[in-house]
């Protein structure tokens, strides 16, 4: 397959010089050394080196088979939500390597689910968790440590009740409220420019922290809805942001969770609630969860996902966190989390 030189990510003047010197396709640049190229095309050595690097990196993307993808996906487990019905609907939880968006009206529990995931991603591997770290980007000011401490304490108690063998008891010594808090990195972004800056620096941050498995942005809507003067600019930036998040999720194997507001959309004369930020942004997340009230019940629905059926489950938010709606009838100790995990993963295995 021939790739034209003009499609490489190089400065336009450099590309022009190369093309004028007769280097039409990347194959023309093969087997050349920088000195040779700089003499041939009349560019500096530095530029020649850049061009050669860009041309050779184009070949670097090796095709991946579907089987390899599947194995990779199974290697990285999902983050459980501690609401077993939602986990079941999502096939084990919030997937690593994908972008998941949580939409909902104010007060329905978006931030609560984000905080819950920030704790759950740290559940040690012997309990079926990921033992990971989390970067929490707070744009709304909704991150309250007090609440994180509640959830962390409940998760620690829950796991300590489940600890049966020696290995699990050893893991419990490092799974405390204090370590949970020390594995949550918080950034506050006051506007969309700071949010974009933070994402530019994400790769650096991740390279120092290989255990980071979750990026939360709570919320994307808040800074971008301010940008109401220039809608084309907003659309462009959101599109770039979406691509950047997908790239971060797949290349670093992290789960990306964003939240979004609801807004009123008019269909003829009928007003309906719809996720904010428009249709272009709607393509960014691979999974979209909609949290909503129905009378006094809270419902979570999967409204967009390539791999799941549309489903609605009931949940509740207790002092302990994001939980199954009927949990009050069953004490948490009677509901071993690791078993539901195993059944979820075994179901996945038999299904394939």
């Amino acid at each position: 397959m021939k790739r034209p030189v003009s499609s490489l990510s190089l400065g336009s003047s450099l590309k022009g010089k190369l093309v004028r010197a007769g280097f039409q396709f990347t194959t023309d640049l093969q087997d050349l050394n920088p000195e040779h190229l700089s003499a041939e095309a009349g560019v500096s050595q530095q530029e020649a080196l850049e061009a050669l690097q860009a041309a050779s990196s184009g070949h670097g993307v090796a095709p991946v088979t579907a089987l390899e993808l599947l194995q990779k996906e199974e290697e990285f487990r999902s983050i459980v939500t501690f609401c077993s019905q939602l986990d079941e609907a999502l096939g084990g939880g919030v997937p690593v390597g994908k972008v998941t968006e949580i939409c909902g009206a104010p007060g329905v529990g978006k931030t609560q689910l984000c905080l819950q995931l920030a704790v759950d991603v740290q559940v040690p591997a012997v309990f079926g968790g990921l033992g990971g770290q989390v970067l929490f980007v707070d744009t709304e000011g909704g991150f309250q440590v007090q609440r994180l401490v509640d959830l962390a304490g409940a998760a620690v108690r829950h796991c300590s009740l489940l600890a049966e063998d020696e290995e699990q008891r050893v893991a419990m010594t490092t799974f405390t409220v204090e370590t949970i808090l020390s594995n949550v990195f918080l950034v506050r972004c006051r506007d969309y420019v700071e949010l974009l800056a933070e994402l530019h620096l994400l790769a650096d941050f991740l390279s120092n922290r290989p255990r980071l498995r979750l990026l939360v942005i709570d919320s994307v809507a808040f800074p971008f809805l301010r940008l109401h003067d220039d809608l084309s600019q907003r659309t462009r930036l959101l599109q770039g942001l979406g691509l950047r998040l997908i790239a971060a999720a797949t290349s670093h194997n992290i789960a990306v969770v964003t939240t979004n507001h609801m807004t009123t959309r008019l269909h003829g004369s009928q007003a309906q609630l719809a996720p904010a930020l428009g249709d272009v942004w709607g393509h960014a997340p691979s999974i979209r969860l909609l949290l909503r009230w129905e009378e006094s019940r809270r419902l979570a629905s999967i409204v967009k996902s390539p791999g799941h059926m549309d489903a609605s489950v009931q949940y509740q938010i207790t002092y302990q966190g994001f939980r199954d709606a009927d949990q009050s009838e069953r004490p948490p100790s009677k509901r071993p989390r690791s078993q539901t995990d195993q059944s979820a993963s075994s179901r996945k295995n038999t299904g394939t």
């Binding site: 400065g11 104010p106 909704g142 007090q146 808090l181 918080l186 506050r188 006051r190 002092y319």
Partner: protein, 364 residues
């Protein structure tokens, strides 16, 4: 913008200057191909430029929640709360209003919203160990004139409200000198007040609480129903101002809001339609609020000695750190106080006894 401050190669800096880019923010909102086109730089150079710009734009490194909890970061004191001056309400609010974020208090007229606003203007002046923030308050009125007589009454009765604070300390605080009152009769003057006066007072440290009483009044009278797009824009502008103030100066902001009736096309038409009110200004405003509280006036009255008051209820509608719930309260001469089970124990003048059964304040 002085580009030399960035750690960049000289040729990148000269290319930026040739392209007339003025700030790092301007660089960050451009896409990579656009930057390449504008500056004539190569891909890796543009990457380097973006990285440097992002580093310059980021004022603070990510910090862990543990550092935050231990108070190692003065900028984001998320555990700090502004107490209300009443242990019952502080228990409901887990200590009081969060210092970073916008708290909304909605309710019908006469529910007691302004009373709570005034009480917070006083409690903010106490030192931190007594639930305050050792600073004054800015009170922005948009509907009624500032209730100065009521404020004077509250100040003179502080010793009886705050029996937990030594009277000598209360005597030393000069309450009325530290409350700045502004009247904003239209949206423009509200924006000027928030962006100039409020920012100045907060920056000087004279003030660490902003009360806007109320946000709804201006928006409800200045816009017709078909102007909703313009109204939403203005709402976002005002809300981003108050958010900015709150986070920049780690100061709580209380926005008082009116309520609007909600008519349901309900299947059960027998249920009384009168009870359903919701905060005004709709979803666009609700999305901007961190904590939403509602105050309702109940039918019952409570009396204590020669005073009597209609029973009220303060409810948490949503908040990232609070459970839904509510407490009954009454408005006395000295201010708002929670009422514990008014039916079983209509408490008399013996306030000390009542405070024995109150749970201790959280987090202090």
């Amino acid at each position: 913008m002085n580009w030399d401050q960035l750690q960049l190669k000289p040729r990148i800096i000269s290319a930026i200057q040739r392209a007339h880019l003025k700030s790092v923010r301007e660089v960050l909102v451009l896409s990579e191909p656009d930057l390449q086109k504008m500056t004539g730089l190569s891909g890796p150079d543009v990457q380097e430029l973006l990285h440097a710009a992002a580093t310059a734009c980021r004022t603070h490194q990510p910090i862990t929640a543990l550092q935050l909890q231990r108070g190692e970061c003065r900028r984001l004191e998320s555990g700090l709360r502004l107490g209300t001056g009443c242990p019952v309400l502080d228990q409901l609010l887990r200590g009081g209003l969060p210092v970073g974020g916008v708290t909304e208090l909605a309710g019908e007229s006469g529910a007691g919203k302004t009373q709570l606003g005034l009480q917070l203007c006083l409690s903010v002046q106490y030192p931190v160990e007594h639930g305050g923030l050792s600073a004054g308050a800015l009170y922005v009125c948009t509907e009624d004139p500032f209730p100065i007589r009521r404020l004077q009454q509250l100040i003179s009765e502080q010793t009886s409200l705050r029996s937990d604070v030594p009277p000598s300390l209360i005597g030393r605080l000069r309450f009325s000198d530290n409350i700045y009152v502004e009247h904003a009769a239209d949206l423009d003057s509200l924006q000027v007040c928030l962006s100039r006066r409020a920012a100045l007072l907060l920056a000087q440290g004279r003030v660490r609480l902003v009360v806007v009483d109320s946000v709804a009044a201006l928006f409800r009278c200045e816009f017709r129903p078909d102007d909703w797009l313009e109204r939403n824009k203005q709402l976002l502008t005002v809300s981003s101002m108050v958010h900015h103030l709150s986070h920049e100066f780690t100061a709580p902001v209380l926005c008082i809001n009116q309520v609007t009736d909600v008519f349901h096309q309900s299947e059960s038409s027998s249920s009384s339609p009168s009870s359903s009110v919701s905060p005004a200004l709709g979803l666009a405003w609700a999305n901007q609020v961190t904590v939403r509280l509602m105050m309702r006036r109940l039918q019952a009255t409570v009396s204590r000695g020669d005073q009597s008051s209609a029973l009220r209820r303060l409810e948490v509608v949503f908040a990232p750190h609070l459970a839904r719930g509510g407490r009954d309260l009454a408005v006395w001469r000295e201010g708002l106080r929670g009422v514990l089970d008014p039916v079983l124990a209509p408490f008399g003048p013996d306030v000390a006894q009542q405070e024995m059964v109150l749970p201790l304040r959280l987090n202090r």
